[in-house]
């Protein structure tokens, strides 16, 4: 193996989650964790000061370097030795998260305060970088990937039900809602059984629809937790079986 290839392989080992005995990789992981945690610090403050701005630049620099190194070693990550590996890696969810984590620093270069504050909100995306370093999060991601079809079906049913009940109540209680969006808001708050009570039906038929909505809501909202729990148990079972073999 050429020395440049060996170097690339070592870089890949370091930036990936550390394996037993690899101190350099462990230091790198620790640095990334500290950068993620401190990158979120400005979100806990009402206003920025010069230290948070410097911190933002340091954290963005680390994330940028990390992104570049991940792109550089993507042929190892994807297991293909050609230029397509770089392209394929750039479109993986984690690579997109890595790229979005750098976005908040651009807000300093934009004069428009609205766009700038929206870009700063991308700091929250940084939390997703933690998925890589937590074994439990990896399991949950695998579970979500496995049950995505079932979850998609439940989501579809929920959306259809929300729209249908919003249309129904909008026609029944014309005076109660200013526009259809308010009816959608009411339907969502009812189906999720949150029930703020800021918009409440006054007619008998309207109240009856609310009762039905709340009852259906309990069933529909409970479905995803059951699907995820079943998927989680299956994943744990699979891991245990693999461990025994």
């Amino acid at each position: 193996m050429k020395s440049s290839e060996m170097m690339k392989k070592r870089v890949y080992e370091i930036i990936e989650v550390s394996k037993k005995g690899d101190i350099a990789s462990r230091f790198y992981d620790a640095m990334m964790l500290i950068a993620v945690i401190l990158g979120l610090l400005p979100l806990t403050m009402k206003s920025e000061n010069k230290y948070t701005i410097i911190l933002d630049f340091v954290v963005a620099g680390i994330f940028l370097a990390d992104y570049c190194l991940r792109i550089y070693t993507s042929d190892y990550k994807m297991g293909i030795k050609c230029y397509q590996a770089y392209l394929a890696y750039a479109f993986t969810p984690m690579a997109i998260v890595d790229l979005l984590a750098i976005v908040p620093v651009i807000s300093f270069a934009i004069a428009d305060p609205t766009i700038s504050s929206v870009l700063k909100l991308f700091r929250v995306v940084v939390v997703l970088k933690l998925i890589r370093y937590s074994k439990t999060m990896v399991i949950i991601t695998n579970v979500l990937r496995r049950v995505k079809r079932q979850l998609g079906a439940v989501l579809m049913i929920t959306i259809i039900y929300i729209i249908a009940s919003a249309m129904f109540i909008f026609q029944l209680e014309m005076d109660l809602f200013k526009n259809f969006f308010e009816a959608l808001y009411w339907a969502t708050i009812s189906i999720t059984t949150i029930g703020y009570g800021d918009i409440s039906p006054t007619t008998e038929i309207g109240r009856f629809v609310t009762m039905i909505s709340s009852l259906v809501g309990v069933a529909v909202i409970a479905l995803p937790s059951g699907i995820i729990t079943a998927g989680y148990m299956e994943e744990i079972k699979k891991k245990k079986t693999a461990h025994e073999i």
């Binding site: 080992e13 350099a24 790198y28 620790a30 500290i34 610090l41 403050m45 911190l55 680390i62």
Partner: protein, 46 residues
């Protein structure tokens, strides 16, 4: 005969010395310290 110092990692890489690893450890330590200091300064000077 002089024995050459080798460092064999768990993942099968054999290097004379893990120079890159040492550079990474040093850089990460410095950056960790800088970030923690900046974080503390930002926190106590709101």
């Amino acid at each position: 005969m002089k024995k050459q110092k080798t460092l064999i990692s768990d993942h099968g890489i054999e290097e004379k010395q893990d120079k890159l690893g040492i550079i990474v450890i040093a850089t990460c330590s410095v950056l960790d310290a800088v970030m923690v200091i900046l974080g503390l300064l930002a926190f106590i000077n709101p």
